[in-house]
């Protein structure tokens, strides 16, 4: 078991109800596959630096969790199929810091 951070970049033209569905879907996935969710952050609608798949803006959702290899494989499988997500990034950490939130002011 080790700590991970997962950020999802979702499409610009999604309604609010679907964003919450994505949030629930991945938080349930982590909890059901021998993982433990620690924190969820919503960074909101941000400007992209360059165009990605013809989109200028995107929604950002950030997960902090503890898990094993099984949880990671499950998440990667689901992201590949999901059409509403443009990009994602998973980073491994030794110690998570839950205090600093860099995108809180820009909301």
């Amino acid at each position: 078991m080790s700590f991970y951070e997962n950020t999802l970049v979702a499409k610009q033209d999604l309604p609010k109800s679907e964003l919450e569905k994505i949030k629930e879907k991945y938080s349930d996935l982590i909890n059901n596959t021998s993982g433990k969710l620690i924190k969820v952050e919503e960074w909101g609608l941000l400007n992209l630096a360059t165009k990605i798949k013809k989109y200028n803006k995107a929604f950002y959702i950030h997960f902090k969790f503890e898990g094993s290899k099984i949880t990671l494989n499950e998440i990667k499988k689901k992201i590949k199929v999901d059409t509403s997500i443009i990009r994602h990034l998973i980073v491994k950490y030794k110690n998570l810091d839950t205090e600093n939130e860099y995108f809180k002011k820009e909301r």
Binding site: T7, L48, T50, R87, V91, F103
Partner: protein
Amino acid sequence: MKRKSKKFLKKNTSSLSKLSLFQKSDGKFNRTCPLSVKNAPIIDYKNISLLKKYISENNKILSSKITSVSSGKQKKLTKEIKKAKILGLI
């Protein structure tokens, strides 16, 4: 009046000591690393305001010769900048 004239002379001598343009200047460029001081900011791909200082106008990573970052921190910086570029933050 006398004092003023003395100052003027001193300045003149300093500029005269440099004989040619190709002589090395006396100014020191060896500054200390700004990221390995006490209470230094955390290098992370979410901390965009810090990462933007170490990027040129064309989104290229600046070399450590210009910014005087230590070699260990420069390796960390490049990794975090590349992560931020994947997400489209920079």
